[in-house]
């Protein structure tokens, strides 16, 4: 119950509840705001910046900004589309993403976001960094070439698994995911049943032995673009 907070997204009125973020209220209303690092079960990280919206004239991330009465939110504007494309471009060139032989392809949120935003090839020059791959663990592998530093694994391990298998080390462009050991995942208490092994939006943390099990054409984003599940809510609402 409780009071309703009324605000607008791109001129359309949206009702939310106190304590909700723009993202939460928008999701419930069936308005999709593009995002990468956000995951419902976790505290918003606010690092990818893809969900940047303009709130009362100022840029804010929808995943972290609480809603307020009378707030005006711009989401689907040509300027924001351009910024979002640039951010996704940056994530592509900062790593080494070879979709054609990545087993996450078709289920990858970064790839799906690029398609949704209409990116066919990055406009920025590739950085081709040298990244470490860690296949030491019997059931999970880490390929840092594909990591977008969203922090989901860090938080899931801490908040959902009650462990602390992952954390960030280094800073700036040298920032990367590290494990709670001298070097190898096998020396940590990571387990294939951990939530942290499931939440990676890209192919940086994957479970072994199950690669390519879903055929092309039946993968998560083969049929519908990312975000459709949220937009469909609106459709059903309108129908009912």
């Amino acid at each position: 119950m409780g009071q309703t907070i009324k605000f607008t997204i791109d001129g359309t009125e949206v009702n939310g509840r106190p304590g909700q973020t723009i993202m939460e209220a928008a999701d419930e209303a069936g308005v999709y705001i593009p995002r990468l690092c956000y995951l419902k079960e976790l505290t918003p990280h606010g690092s990818c910046r893809v969900c940047t919206v303009i709130v009362n004239g100022r840029p804010q991330t929808a995943c972290t900004q609480p809603i307020a009465d009378g707030m005006t939110v711009e989401n689907n504007t040509p300027e924001l589309l351009e910024h979002r494309k640039n951010l996704v471009d940056m994530l592509f060139v900062e790593g080494n993403h070879f979709c054609m032989f990545c087993e996450k392809s078709g289920n990858c949120e970064l790839q799906a976001m690029a398609y949704r935003l209409g990116i066919l090839a990055p406009k920025y020059p590739f950085m081709f960094p040298t990244c470490e791959v860690d296949a030491s663990h019997p059931d999970i592998f880490i390929d840092r070439n594909r990591c977008i530093l969203c922090g989901r694994c860090v938080q899931a391990s801490k908040d959902l698994d009650g462990k602390h298998v992952f954390d960030f080390v280094g800073r700036g462009v040298h920032k990367k995911i590290a494990v709670d050991a001298e070097a190898k995942l096998v020396d940590t208490d990571a387990d294939v049943r951990d939530k942290a092994a499931e939440v990676c939006p890209v192919g940086a943390i994957l479970k072994k032995h199950i690669g390519f099990s879903v055929p092309i054409g039946k993968r998560l984003y083969d049929q519908k673009p990312i975000g459709s599940e949220i937009e469909e809510k609106k459709m059903t609402k309108v129908k009912s």
Binding site: C48, P66, M90, H164, G172
Partner: protein, 603 residues
């Protein structure tokens, strides 16, 4: 692990109460004593403080003064700011490298001395400068560099290297530094004579709410650069729920070209501590923290002694100046080399013993700051202003300066001028008048507000320094006609690339792309369309970045694209035939030729 090392680690952790929020003290102290924090040491710290080892590594790998690999007992950190380079820093660097026989980043074969570069250490008015452990060396020459190394080889103690002493408290027994203050112009607010503790006494005679009202009437705005109204910040913090509140002074001046806080810390520390105490009274806090940048470690013992002196005088501690129930004390938190920690939420993270990552806002520090408690973070100069407002009154304060920007501003002036140093000017001074005052001739460009500010050319010299026109935290760097503007831009972009915390995409990646783009143009590989590319990229970084660093880091590129367009246009290559003028076909097939083992048919 070596038993002695184990003993030291345990001892340091225990002396910090095995408290993970004291992690900065633990790691900086161990870095100093052990020369590095190896995996074993991190394991033990983790065990002692009950955190995970990767959390310790996360911190150690963040701050540039900390390292996993061992460094020498003596670490020489050369300031690589562009101002140092303009004053002969490159030759000094070479002299150090030659004399030590190592490259930048290297350690001598005996493991004794490590040579590094570091961004601005707050000595641009006496560049080139370097830190040898915590000892500052200024006005370096190649001869002096060699002499320093020879002395160090002899006795291994940077403090024993003969040097003259600076003026004022730089000569104090607990400082004994060659740094000189360089106060070039005294104004009525910060550098004038004043009756000690008069502001504090008057504040304590008022109610906390009245103190805040006075600060608001004075229209005091933050002196660090962002210019947020101080009274409002204090009102929010006072009004926030929580029994424990904190006052933090941001003495992490890291903006390249700024050094005014250094001078306040040596000469006007009393005014600062007075202001912090008033802040504590106003917001209802009993604890103040002075976050001192790692580069100013040489001032720590002195400042601690001055705090002790205030305790003895009843100016800190319980029932301050016999005001029943007003308790306040200040302690110092040392940083470890991270520009981002000047951002208030990063600074709070660092105080909490974490990586200096900015925090998500809201909640703002006034609601949830240090350890989740309401916290006000203010600049060194801001606290000094508060003490003066209390002493002389809001009206007196507001009448100085320009209409929208009351009072004076300390400006740290360096670069191509005859009088580098600290100037206290009323807000509203024209750039042209400032340049005349500091003895700058033949000026091509002026950096106002450090690299996160603006680079302006002569057509803007009639503009004024104030919050409404050219705002600044105080860093002013002057470049004469001989300087290459694009090299200046590249230097500053290198700085931002180095100092981005890496949390958010645009700042982490975008700054690298901007820097690389500028480099391309300098190397003659740029095309006209690259100028739009840089502008759009810069705008995206500004709009989408998470904190003030990324929201301002494209400024060197964006402001020069606007103000020095001609410089760029001369360098980019046009091609009327519709070809990509900078495409180097020979280079493009180079790798393939190597693999094939023969030259291409066409070239």
């Amino acid at each position: 692990m070596n038993k002695d090392i184990e003993k030291i680690v345990k001892q340091v952790c225990e002396s910090n109460g095995q408290n993970k929020t004291k992690m900065m003290n633990i790691v900086t102290s161990l870095q100093e004593r052990l020369g590095g924090l190896s995996g074993d040491v991190m394991d033990l710290i983790a065990k002692q403080t009950k955190v995970h080892r990767v959390e310790v590594e996360s911190i150690v790998s963040f701050y540039s003064f900390l390292s996993k690999t061992p460094k020498g007992k003596i670490v020489i950190r050369l300031c690589n700011d562009i101002v140092d380079k303009m004053q002969g820093g490159e030759a000094v660097r070479k002299a150090f490298c030659d004399e030590l026989g190592v490259k930048i980043g290297g350690t001598t074969p005996d493991g004794n001395m490590t040579l590094e570069e570091t961004p601005c250490i707050g000595m641009c008015d006496q560049a080139p400068a370097a830190l040898v452990n915590d000892v500052v060396f200024t006005y370096l020459s190649t001869d002096k560099a060699r002499e320093i190394v020879r002395e160090l080889k002899k006795h291994g103690d940077p403090k024993k290297i003969p040097h003259r002493l600076g003026d004022g408290n730089n000569a104090h027994d607990l400082v004994r530094s060659m740094v000189h203050n360089g106060i070039r112009k005294k104004g009525p607010v910060i550098f004038s004579d004043y009756e000690a503790e008069s502001g504090l006494k008057k504040a304590l005679a008022m109610s906390p709410v009245e103190v805040i009202r006075e600060v608001k009437i004075a229209r005091l705005r933050g002196r660090g650069g962002a210019g947020f109204p101080t009274g409002m910040k204090w009102e929010f913090t006072r009004g926030a729920e929580g029994t424990q509140k904190f006052v933090i002074c941001n003495a992490d001046e890291g903006e390249p070209g700024t050094f005014k806080d250094r001078v306040i810390l040596t000469e006007k520390y009393d005014l600062l501590f007075e202001g912090m105490t008033i802040g504590g009274y106003a917001i209802g806090s009993d604890t103040g923290i002075l976050y001192l940048r790692g580069e100013y470690l040489y001032l720590k013992a002195f400042l601690e002694e001055m705090l002790e002196d205030r305790r003895k005088k009843g100016l800190l501690g319980k029932d301050i100046l016999h005001k029943k129930g007003f308790h306040f004390d200040i302690h110092i938190q040392i940083g470890a080399g991270a520009y981002i920690c000047g951002e208030e939420t990063s600074l709070i993270s660092s105080c909490e013993g974490l990586r200096g990552d900015p925090k998500t806002r809201p909640p703002f520090p006034a609601q949830k700051g240090y350890l989740g408690c309401p916290t006000t973070v203010n600049n060194v100069e801001t606290f000094c202003c508060v003490a003066r407002i209390m002493d002389r009154g809001a009206t007196w304060f507001a009448e100085i300066g320009s209409k929208g920007s009351p009072s004076t501003k300390l400006l740290s002036v360096s670069g191509d001028c005859s009088g580098p140093g600290v100037y206290e000017f009323p807000f509203g001074i024209k750039v042209r008048d400032l340049l005349k005052e500091v003895g700058a001739e033949d000026v091509q460009a002026v950096l106002i507000g450090g690299p996160s500010g603006q680079i302006i050319g002569p057509s803007d010299f009639e503009r004024t320094i104030c919050y409404d026109d050219l705002p600044t935290g105080g860093s002013i760097v002057i470049f004469n006609q001989e300087r290459n503007i694009l090299e200046v831009v590249k230097e500053y972009m290198d700085f931002f690339v180095e100092e981005s915390c890496g949390y958010c995409t645009p700042c982490r990646v975008g700054n690298v792309l901007l820097r690389n783009g500028i480099e391309n143009i300098i190397e003659g590989k740029g095309e006209p369309k690259d100028l739009d590319y840089l502008k759009e990229l810069g705008e995206s970084v500004k709009v989408t970045s998470r904190c003030g660093l990324g929201q301002t880091s494209p400024n060197p590129v964006l402001t020069t694209l606007k103000n020095f367009r001609g410089v760029y246009e001369k360098l980019v290559k046009k091609d009327e035939k519709g070809f990509q003028p900078t495409f180097d076909a020979k280079r493009a097939v180079g790798d393939a030729e190597k693999v094939a083992g023969r030259a291409s048919v066409h070239y």
